[in-house]
Symmetry: C2
Subunit: 296 residues, 2 copies
Amino acid sequence: MTQKETIGFIGLGIMGYPMAENLLKAGNAVTVYNRTRSKAESLAADGASIAPIVADVARAASVIFICVGGTADVEQIAEELLLAIRPGALIVDTTTISPTASRRLAARFSKCGAQFLDAPCTGSKAGATNATLTFMVGGEKAAFDRARPYLEAMGKKIFHTGGQGTGLQVKLTQNLIGALTCQAMAEGFVLARKAGISPSLVLEVLQNSVARNPMIDGKLPLVITRNFAPHFSLKWMHKDLGLMLESANELQVPLPATALVRELFGAGIAMGHGEEDFASAIRVIESMAGVEVRED
Amino acid sequence: MTQKETIGFIGLGIMGYPMAENLLKAGNAVTVYNRTRSKAESLAADGASIAPIVADVARAASVIFICVGGTADVEQIAEELLLAIRPGALIVDTTTISPTASRRLAARFSKCGAQFLDAPCTGSKAGATNATLTFMVGGEKAAFDRARPYLEAMGKKIFHTGGQGTGLQVKLTQNLIGALTCQAMAEGFVLARKAGISPSLVLEVLQNSVARNPMIDGKLPLVITRNFAPHFSLKWMHKDLGLMLESANELQVPLPATALVRELFGAGIAMGHGEEDFASAIRVIESMAGVEVRED
């Protein structure tokens, strides 16, 4: 007999809010916590219980999701959860943080008799809203199986990638490839633009070649119209590039192109574009070349 | 009244041979020249006329295709064509060469009353065989319209990209993005492998994300099975990266990631992998990290 779990959700931001909403829609009892309480109150109208402090989530829930900003935020929340965590509880961290820090947290929760999974996701705001996220989950298989029905309420593809921290490793690989592809787009299109060729023509040709990719399909049209509204901000991608390099350094894997792209994205932040979508990294090359990738 | 053109084809390599074959199949009279005569003789069985020297192609043909190795090869052939070129002839160079050198050749042919197009293509051997190549054509619209029916006998998508040299600029942009995406794949997958994660699992996750691209779909399975048989060799991609940087330098467009990737691909050549597919660039990162991207 499977006893129904009580769910906790910490962090109701751009991603977390619709994710918690989907857990509620699936008929779960969900206790939510958010630093800014008004967002939690808005979810209460959909049936969520509000926890005034993080430790109250630990008291109320047997399966607790975390969806916050970065490593330091998750570490802070973990401290508060550990004050009141129930033995046998399962913590599922969907934040993209350092794999090393994540493994350390897993060990700490384990000492208290709790399970921990790193479960970063991809699909951005639209995927969170439509419950079509892809989750990459690291940790013990039994914990994964326990979390799975709830992940399925929020996502479409749920992968068990292996032991503790491996979900994060796969997520970092994905973002590494996304960031470097974005830089490739930046260098290629700035070069073509300065050679006097229409960016939308170059895009059309590329869409008939093996150089086609969803990054270019999705982002280049926004670049041409100079729409840098954030789907995933340059600041966050820069953070993730740092996590990749930290992980690579620990594993002794030199990543020359990743290191360079991190610096170039950092230049974009220094130019004041950190809050924009990371496609705005193209501004760094544009600025050096004295040209903008837009139609005449 | 359109008079039927007589076609010339110079260079019967991996790409050129099936391209010339498709021109013959479309019912054209084709005079071919190849440095190694035996390949030309094999095409003669399909109805091609053999020119013993390049100048004989110039004497026989009104529309002449070139498909050879690089800038120096095209320049050499152009010298020999100019000895006997017919006024009103059209030269269509499908080789990926320096845009600057291409513009220079166009100017020389123009002085002799001949037209010139840069018409590099993409689609590799399979596209050349199945007549599904994509052509990117720079030069005058009238010359493009004249070449079009013959390009359509060899390809599926034919783009007029603008003035002289622009076909090459677009091709270089495409290869730049291909090369940098390949480097992204290399760094991402070596990192994940050293973190102990199965490459085919990472591939499956990526195929459910915006980091998906045809480069990874096509090349990573070959990397895992250590099959580096050349579809497009590391040596040629390294050459094209050099052309990109040359063009970027002339246009004053700094390309930091492209420059780095050129050096890393050069390292792969120095390690003895120049004749392999350019996916073998992953060996550079593998060698530094002391791990290979293959299943256990």
